[in-house]
């Protein structure tokens, strides 16, 4: 066709216009649903019967929300972007820290200090500029959850607190969005596809929600974060990659009927039977236990709970209760009780503690030692103690201390006996990583009568080794 416009210019214009299901690129009179670049880019998955052209078009038209751009969200975002998901939303309020980099693969050394969402958008744009990224530089709260989640088709929960897990699940039930939920800690991971199919609350054909599987949150004191418990990069990476896989499967399996529900009289008996079969197929919980054999276990989950607070006919979680703030997720999940209040005489600042050590290192003062070296008990776990510790400190892990029952009869634990042999005029100084376990230890030592009825001082080094590094010794390692 001679319209006076050079072919290469026309191609560029058409390439810029290719968007949406109905629009096609026109070249040489033929119309193709994907651009030449897209055929080449996605060729290796397009030729698979599980994807095909129809699957690729669904991916292109799909929008996925990733809540949390950390160890799970990074690999999930990378694979979803690579596969050609049209729109990816990213929610995170945090900035990249150097301790993230061993597992959060979208961020790099040069991005430390940058917001995680900005870093992720840069990575995704570099990987695949066909993908539209929507950054949400904020934490997810009851006040913003419905507004953000409503803009997307599928949600990935890549967050790190029980409160956000319940909030995201409840929001997905209310907005009828399938939820791919994963988590990881230390050497283990969990993966579930929830609220799939995303039928309205009370519809038994819908998939169970997070509350159906875990109706009661774990006690706040037992919740361990990756910062406290540790995490192996490939473990959380595996879970994030599997999350992206499940999201692709959910998108590709979406039928157009799901989007536009038919009138009741249009559904014939055969379709009703299919619905019945859907009900009989509850989802799985995939357990990854990387240091056990076998590494993977698949648990057959239950269907929706008849008394579920979110997805049953008697649900108490509603759009109104969420928006009004009457649902307090932080309170529901409990707040870790503030550490036992100690008397001022039971605490010492790191500066005074450093002075105490310095005094004891002065050999003589008018012919006598100024002070005996203080007895310093470091209550971190042994593996942390082995990383770095104060000179002369003794390691008794808090897990050992807390599992020693003060009311138990019979012979006391060896470590208790050894501490009793220390002269009474010697105070025991307790230090830990952040200054919480040390306070609990002071309290527990009193319960174990290690203060010998008040004749021995037991002192918490306030703020722990973090304060020591911040205020006394800048060279003490931070980890």
């Amino acid at each position: 066709m001679n319209d006076g416009v050079p072919d290469d210019v026309k191609n560029e214009i058409f390439a810029a216009l290719r968007f949406g299901d109905g629009e096609v690129e026109r070249k040489g009179g033929r119309e193709w649903p994907l651009s030449g670049d897209e055929y080449r880019r996605y060729g290796r998955q397009l030729i698979m019967p599980e994807v095909g052209l129809a699957g690729q078009m669904k991916l292109k038209n799909a929008s996925v929300l990733i809540v949390g751009v950390g160890g799970l969200g990074c690999p999930a975002a990378a694979y979803l972007a690579g596969a050609g998901v049209g729109t990816i939303g990213l929610v995170d309020a945090d900035d990249v820290e150097v301790s993230n980099l061993h597992r959060q693969i979208l961020h790099g050394t040069a991005k430390v200090g940058m917001s995680k969402v900005e870093s992720a958008v840069l990575y995704i744009n570099g990987l695949n500029d066909e993908v539209q990224c929507i950054p949400h530089h904020e934490r997810i709260f009851p006040e913003n959850a419905l507004g953000i989640i409503s803009q997307y088709d599928v949600v990935l929960d890549c967050t790190d607190t029980p409160a956000s897990r319940y909030l995201i699940s409840d929001s997905c039930v209310l907005l009828r969005k399938p939820l791919v939920s994963a988590s990881a800690l230390r050497t283990e991971g969990q993966l579930m596809v929830l609220n799939n199919p995303p039928r309205p609350a009370g519809d038994v054909h819908g998939g169970p929600c997070y509350r159906c599987i875990f109706p009661k949150p774990p006690p706040a004191a037992s919740v361990v974060t990756c910062g406290e418990g540790g995490i192996l990069g490939p473990v959380v990476g595996t879970m994030g990659v599997l999350q992206s896989l499940e999201a692709l499967k959910v998108i590709i399996a979406t039928s157009s009927e799901e989007d536009t529900p038919m009138e009741l009289d249009e559904i014939d008996a055969q379709q009703q039977q299919q619905q019945q079969r859907k009900k009989a197929d509850p989802p799985n919980l995939l357990l990854f236990s990387s240091f056990s054999k076998p590494m993977f276990r698949s648990i057959r989950l239950r269907s929706r709970r008849a008394d579920c607070a979110a997805c049953s006919a008697q649900a108490s979680v509603t759009v109104e209760s969420l928006n009004s703030g009457s649902l307090d997720y932080v309170q529901f999940c409990g707040v870790s009780s503030p550490v036992a209040a100690l008397q001022p005489s039971e605490r010492i600042s790191v500066k005074s503690f450093a002075q105490l050590i310095a005094d004891s290192e002065q050999e003589v003062h008018f012919g006598r030692p100024l002070a005996a070296p203080p007895v310093v008990l470091d209550v971190r776990e042994k593996v942390q103690f082995d990383l770095c510790s104060l000179k002369g400190s003794i390691n008794i892990p808090y897990s050992v201390i807390s599992s020693t029952d003060p009311s138990a009869t019979g012979p006391s634990a060896t470590w208790v006996d050894e501490l009793r042999r220390i002269p009474l005029d010697q105070a025991l100084y307790i230090i830990c990583r952040l200054g919480n376990d040390s306070q609990l230890t002071v309290k527990r030592f009193r319960e174990l009568a290690l203060d010998e009825g008040g004749r021995r001082r037991i002192v918490d080094v306030a703020g722990g080794l973090k304060a020591w590094r911040d205020k006394v010794d800048r060279d003490f390692p931070e980890y």
């Binding site: 949390g68 950390g70 160890g71 799970l72 969200g73 890549c158 967050t159 790190d160 607190t161 029980p162 956000s164 897990r165 994963a182 988590s183 990881a184 800690l185 230390r186 283990e188 991971g189 969990q190 599987i213 875990f214 009661k216 949150p217 774990p218 006690p219 004191a221 037992s222 919740v223 361990v224 974060t225 990756c226 418990g229 995490i231 959380v236 879970m239 994030g240 919980l285 357990l287 236990s289 056990s292 054999k293 276990r297 698949s298 648990i299 057959r300 989950l301 239950r302 897990s399 029952d405």
Partner: protein, 98 residues
Amino acid sequence: MSISSSDTPSTYFTILYFAAASDITKKRSETLTAPVHVSQLFTLLDKKYPGLKDKVLCSSAITVNLEYVDVDESMSDEEGLVIKAGDEVAIIPPVSSG
């Protein structure tokens, strides 16, 4: 460590401890005497590991032979589920970090 049920003696069931459950029990798995009614499991484990019920079991998913079981529902069900010799039980606390 092998935790396959084929090693289990004929009067025992295997119990697997994940996440916080393995922190408290200091074990990934062990064998216990069968049979046990599911509704008795928490009491039995709490006796063996004081505090385990409140700290872990009440908020965990419990499975028998890779199938989720509802402990509350089986409490009210006298027929209920009985853990038999050779069964594999798992204690799966929710993990929220990522």
